[in-house]
């Protein structure tokens, strides 16, 4: 391949930014009605009542909590429990399900989605910190564990703790808003915060249209992420949803991925004021929370590049070169030990079969240089056949012996390998034996060549004489039996 670096698609990784990824069906309940009316040539109806069938189905999607918390979020930024200079970044969440931010809506009505226009995301990365806690007594940075019913008024769910708080369902008259698979007593996590604070920091509906997008990236240079980059396609889409508030230096911050579903009437104005003057700012709002993490902005740079440049710190030699080979450092002067460690060997305690304790060398498959010694003579009959003894040091090299043993143990542990391997070896054995014995029989029966045999037997004899003709043992067997019967 020729071309400059900037034209080579392999090298200049392309990332496609996409406005949104609208699901074919948003989550919710659907009813499909099929009717058929029959008309004759003049257009008059033939059937009296319309023939009609109705099907109900639901499209499910994560709503109050992730069904698979480990797989639903690829990464968060700033990283969980990180500390570093994060005072000029907006926190974000990377979601492997690329249509999740548009599966539901912060609006109450759901107009037909238009892919050309920005759609508001129902997910919001909310940032709270210790300074907010100081300003608002009772504010907790730890979400409360509750049930879905706690988002509903007591009229719908008796044990609800909602009280007078505002939530997605605070005006609900019944539980009909729940979708299949969602129950009032399903466990969720939620967070309560004063409306006064919510209005100061929450985005407007217009902001939410710009707070999530999709990035399509290539997977060829990426690690294998189970369920994401091993699906048989070389590219994939991720949804990125991010916050609108910068972290404060010097305090602990907590981020929450919260649901703003159907809360458009509560969202503030562009300047962070109540949507309608006179709304009761003494109330709180309760938001279902799908993910939380914490970090601390300290003003020290903590970027990816900083972290990688700091790798191997403290392992530099006298010349300032950093150690990058997989081997142990040695401060002693013994040339034997120094040489072995340089070659990647590690001394390990060994208990010999005779009960003595000694030290042996071991090196794994990841050598610090290109090893050119050849493997022990394969196939080995036992692990000890791969031991090598160094008479100068009186030490054993256990490396290949250990390799053989662990290979054997891994194979034994996995029945999906050990059983088919046994079957294959057995089949090979049978086929080989049939081939050899068939050839031997045909050799010995060659003297019978001038005996006129029935045509069927003759053809089998020819087949048996060919070592490649398998199953010839059986043919030869029949041949002999028949020959004996006829008294040859």
């Amino acid at each position: 391949m020729t071309g400059s670096a900037t034209q080579n698609p392999l090298l200049n990784e392309v990332v496609t930014f996409i406005q949104n990824d609208i699901p074919g069906f948003g989550a919710g309940m659907y009813r499909l009605t099929v009717t058929q009316s029959l008309t004759d040539a003049t257009g008059a109806a033939i059937n009296d009542a319309p023939i009609s069938l109705t099907y109900d189905f639901g499209v499910s999607g994560d709503r109050f909590a992730f069904a698979k918390p480990d797989q639903s979020v690829l990464a968060v930024f700033p990283p969980d429990n990180a500390s570093g200079g994060y005072d000029a970044v907006f926190p974000h969440v990377v979601l492997p399900q690329s249509n999740l931010p548009w599966l539901r809506s912060p609006t109450i009505d759901h107009p037909e989605p238009d892919a050309e226009n920005d759609l508001p995301s129902w997910l919001w990365v909310m940032l709270l910190d210790e300074a907010d806690q100081a300003a608002h007594t009772g504010l907790s940075l730890t979400p409360t564990i509750g049930v879905v019913g706690d988002l509903f008024p007591t009229a719908v769910y008796g044990p609800s703790t909602l009280g007078t708080e505002v939530s997605t369902f605070s005006q609900a008259k019944d539980a009909s808003a729940l979708e299949p698979g969602q129950a009032l007593d399903s466990p969720i996590q939620y967070i309560d915060l004063p409306l006064a604070l919510f209005w100061q920091i929450a985005p407007t509906l217009a902001d939410l249209r710009l707070m999530a997008h999709v990035r399509e990236v290539g997977f060829t240079q990426k690690p294998t992420l189970p369920g994401i980059t091993d699906q048989g396609v070389p590219t994939g889409k991720f949804a990125i949803t991010f916050g609108n508030r910068l972290p404060l230096d010097g305090v602990n911050s907590a981020c929450f991925l919260v649901s703003l579903e159907a809360l458009e009437d509560i969202l503030p104005t562009e300047q962070g004021l109540p949507p309608q003057p006179g709304m009761d700012s003494g109330k709180s709002i309760r938001l279902a929370m799908l993910r939380t993490w914490r970090f601390r902005s300290t003003g020290q740079p903590a970027t990816f590049v900083n972290a990688l440049l700091a790798l191997n710190d403290g392992t530099s030699d006298g010349l300032g070169h950093r150690q990058t080979a997989l081997r142990l450092d040695y401060a002693g002067t013994d040339p034997l030990v120094a040489g072995a460690l340089e070659m990647g060997y590690a001394p390990l305690n060994t208990v010999l079969r005779t009960g003595e304790n000694t030290v042996s060398w071991y090196r794994g498959p990841l050598a610090p240089y290109a090893v050119t010694t050849s493997a022990p003579p394969i196939p080995l009959s036992s692990a000890d056949a791969a031991l090598s003894f160094d008479p100068t040091s009186g030490m054993l090299d256990m490396s290949y012996s250990a390799a053989w043993t662990i290979g054997r143990l891994i194979a034994l542990q996995d029945q999906s390998f050990s059983v088919p391997l046994y079957v294959w070896k057995r089949d090979l054995h049978h086929v080989l034996m049939a081939s050899v014995s068939g050839a031997m029989l045909s050799d010995r029966l060659a003297a019978l060549g001038d005996v006129v045999l029935p045509q069927r037997l003759q053809s089998r004899l020819e087949a048996a004489a060919n070592p490649g003709a398998l199953g010839s043992f059986k043919a030869a067997h029949h041949l002999v039996l028949n020959a004996l019967k006829k008294g040859i």
């Binding site: 100061q200 240079q221 590690a346 498959p365 610090p368 196939p379 080989l432």
Partner: protein, 323 residues
């Protein structure tokens, strides 16, 4: 009954004789035995599922970490270690896996050891070849190039492995790095195919990468889907007055392709922040400012996405000259 057993023993002995390493006088029978064995192997070759299993083993999947790194001091926290895969070690590992059911003891059955030897000679190269297919299958890509030399790679132990799960890596062979291309534009840039690249376990901070060929330069870069939104300066005075700057890359749009200019223009985005002192940006106001800076009417979510994204961080590791 006795007769049958004897007959069977006779076949076995004959097969044993035929399969044993033969002196020159019986070379003809040895050739015949090999014909029988290779004919049998064409009828019952190693099943594809077993080839794949052995290929995964050759990529060290399932090998306990202690066997890869016998001493933690070899791979301390926040370190990267480069290595060359010891092919003899891997061959021995695979032979161990193939050894189950093998007749062991002081007097091995000669026929069986001949069979084992033939089976191992058959299975080892098939497994080595299947190694190139494993990663491409998950990505829907053709098999990797077979390694010209040894398989090399690195172990990375860092908090970045768990914090940045989609971390990218480009590995170049000697003489075909982007720097070589810049030096002499007739040199093409080559990437070594990745054979295995994954974290060793969920939420692990250790990652292994094996590439087909001899690595000379390894570039590790931030994954584009995890690039964060950032601004370049933010200060807030006592009274809540905000001063914020975003160094904006200009961009030009032609059709679906957008090209970012390498030059940056500092854009004052202070007024995009709410005046309540809570460090909250109005994204719609921000998009208006960024659109005006690029002489566009408005930015949609995607354009906003790349306008706000900070650049990709990348670190290159170059191999020094061999001693």
């Amino acid at each position: 009954m006795t007769r049958r057993i004897q007959d069977r023993q006779g076949f076995m002995d004959a097969a044993a004789t035929a399969l044993r390493p033969l002196p020159a006088t019986t070379a003809l029978r040895g050739v015949r035995a090999k014909v029988h064995l290779s004919a049998s192997l064409t009828v019952v070759p190693l099943p594809a599922a077993l080839q794949d299993w052995l290929a995964r083993l050759r990529l060290l999947k399932g090998v306990p970490f202690g066997y890869l790194v016998p001493d933690e001091a070899m791979l301390p926290p926040e370190s990267i270690r480069f290595f060359t895969l010891d092919r003899a070690w891997v061959d021995t590992l695979v032979d161990g896996a193939l050894s189950i059911g093998r007749t062991l003891g002081r007097k091995p059955d000669l026929a069986m050891s001949g069979l084992e030897s033939g089976a191992a000679d058959h299975a080892q190269p098939l497994a080595a070849e299947a190694v190139t297919r494993m990663r491409g299958r998950g990505l829907g890509l053709p098999p990797a190039m077979p390694p010209a030399g040894p398989i090399t790679g690195f172990l990375l132990r860092s908090k970045q492995v768990s914090d940045t799960p989609g971390i990218g890596v480009n590995v170049y062979p000697k003489g075909h790095t982007p720097a070589d291309h810049d030096h002499d534009s007739s040199v093409d840039i080559q990437l070594l195919d990745i054979l295995r690249f994954e974290a060793l376990g969920a939420a692990s901070d250790v990652m292994i990468c094996l590439v087909s060929g001899e690595a000379w330069r390894v570039d590790i870069h931030e994954p584009p889907e995890q690039l964060h939104y950032g601004i370049d300066a933010f200060t807030q005075a006592e009274g809540g007055a905000v001063s914020a700057v975003k160094n904006l890359h200009g961009f030009t749009q032609s059709g679906d392709q957008v090209t970012l200019s390498p030059d940056v223009t500092p854009v004052d985005i202070s007024i995009a922040f709410r005046s309540n002192g809570q460090r909250v940006a109005s994204l719609s106001a921000l998009s208006g400012i960024l659109a005006r800076a690029n002489a566009m009417a408005a930015l949609d979510a995607a354009e906003m996405g790349f306008a706000m994204t900070q650049g990709v961080g990348m670190v290159s590791f170059m191999r020094g000259d061999d001693k």
